[in-house]
Amino acid sequence: MKAISIFQKGSHQWLCFGRDPDKPEKIIDTNQYMVTNGESSIILDPGGVELFSQMLTSVLRYTTLDNIKALFSSHQDPDIISSLGLWDQCLKNSKLYSPWLWESFIRHFGMSNIEFEAIPDEGSEIQLGNIVLQFVPAHYLHSSGNMHVYDKEAKILMSGDVGAALDEVSAPFYVEDFEAHIPKMEYFHRRWMPSNKAKEEWINRVRKLDIEIIAPQHGGIFKNDMVGKFLDWFERLDVGIATNK
């Protein structure tokens, strides 16, 4: 599994883990993020069971288990958090931040040491070292209880499945050519995202944030002018295409 630093200022760092060349073929490639500030780290969307060994390997290169104060799962999907039962056996005093809606479901992955911290529908925030991370509501994008993470200092929005692209494992970490990137994300958004209304609300909320990086859970990361291009594209996109015909 590869790792890149997408932000670093003093002891404040964002790492992205992914593009795992050893990943089993039929498993969707995922980006896992770790935000560290001083002695505290949080892993965002820690991923599935199948990637756990590679993830733990990667994480231990940058932090200690003691310093992993929290996990965050944007929603309940297996590619997001099915590794929970395994993390649970490594982390003794850690918390899992996740939408309240999913607590009784996520517990099915096994959770006896980690403490569940329910994020209310309107979002909330946590202190990580001396920075604050905000949990920003993104309900119905795609999950009915869904949160993103915004770091005001780093100007990064971790956007879960929003901005996701199904790409090659060999693809670069950042989106370089937006037009060429569209086909890799169009069907995903049109099919997985159920509601134009939810999408519009989210766009309005996110446009008020100062964002330099949108970091999705699959595929390339949007940086600088790609951020605006993505928001404009997503705003125009008609989502929720599934029918039962």
Binding site: F52, S53, T57, L60, L65, G85, L86, Q89, G110
Partner: protein, 203 residues
């Protein structure tokens, strides 16, 4: 097989045992109805089938024995499955940990060592629990099998009683004897099958 049982294999085997016992239980329930019919028959046959009351009590006892055995096997199986799935989790956790490529920085503590210790401890505790409860399961099955041998005796006695009874009742009494012996055989074969599911496990 290595010194410890594979967790997934254990709970699959135990689930099979429980399902065999479930089948045995429904046969025993049938047997219980047979026994009630036999009792009514004995009343009608009157003094000519005096020994039959004794037999019906015996059949009831056997049917209760099987039902009880099935229930307790089921209870053991449920707790086994829970232990085995915990064990499965820790075994798969260890196999994931084994794949972690980790070298503690010189002068720093090995962070994974205490986790290994803990999970290994939990694992051997679970393995011990599994072995104890497997032993219990095997004993319970063997015990039930032994007790079931009596069904054959009952069926022989029933036939003797039938021959003594008035000929109006002979056919019915013989059919009770047939039912008892066939039920006993069927229950027995389920118990044997259950036992075979456990044969390869270490107790």
């Amino acid at each position: 097989m290595s010194e410890s049982n594979d967790a997934a294999d254990t709970f699959i085997s135990v689930a099979h045992v429980a399902s065999e016992l479930f089948k045995a239980q429904s046969i025993a329930e049938e047997l219980s109805i047979t026994s009630k019919n036999a009792r009514a028959l004995a009343v009608r046959a009157g003094s000519t089938a005096a020994g039959f009351n004794e037999i019906t009590r015996f059949i009831e006892g056997l049917s209760k024995l099987t039902i009880d055995a099935a229930r307790s096997v089921n209870t053991i199986a449920i707790s086994q499955t829970k232990i085995a799935s915990d064990l499965f989790r820790s075994q798969s956790f260890v196999s994931k940990l084994d794949k972690v490529d980790y070298e503690p920085v010189k002068g720093h503590v090995n962070e994974l060592a205490p986790i290994y210790d803990e999970v290994n401890q939990a694992r051997s505790q679970l393995e011990r629990k599994i072995r104890i409860s497997l032993r219990e399961l095997v004993d319970r099955l063997d015990e039930t099998k032994m007790e079931l041998r009596a069904t054959q005796v009952v069926s022989v006695v029933s036939r003797v009683e039938a021959s003594r009874a008035h000929e109006d009742f002979q056919n019915s009494l013989n059919s009770v004897a047939d039912k008892v012996s066939s039920a006993g055989q069927r229950i027995n074969s389920h118990l044997e099958r259950a036992r075979r599911h456990l044969a390869h496990l270490r107790t």
